[in-house]
Symmetry: C2
């Protein structure tokens, strides 16, 4: 049985998010106001096993492969 | 009043997701199996207004600035 998970990876609050700043500026130039824009990644993956097993594996994958702990935090969602 | 939204932007199913393929291969080499890996983006932003107004603005922003309709689909979440 396969379980589908989403891993949301965002830059840490203390990190200057240059992509987010660029988006904010572009929006301002287009008269679309938004604040505190932060750009991260979203990874969808399917893992085999029961829900608990699969979640453990997905967490391992997110922790060791997908995110850089120095500058990013991640969050797992069941999809 | 400010409302916080998340915009999840994923490559369309029919599009070959090279980033996702690369992640899958890396996981395989590290004996961590996952399938159907797809890599997208997640943008968090704050928009002023009531919830309905802000959601409309966030949708406009996602539609016209954040996603490329040829290769991506987006989904808005209230955070």
């Amino acid at each position: 049985m396969k379980q589908k998970f989403g891993v949301k990876i965002m830059p840490r609050e203390v990190i200057l998010d240059t992509q987010g700043r660029a988006v904010e500026q572009t929006l301002r130039l287009n008269k679309l106001a938004a604040e505190s824009v932060r750009v991260g990644r979203f990874v969808e993956l399917e893992v085999a096993g029961t829900e608990a097993e699969a979640r453990k594996k997905a967490e391992e994958i997110a922790k060791f492969v997908l995110h850089n702990p120095l500058i990013e935090t991640f969050e797992i969602q069941k999809l």
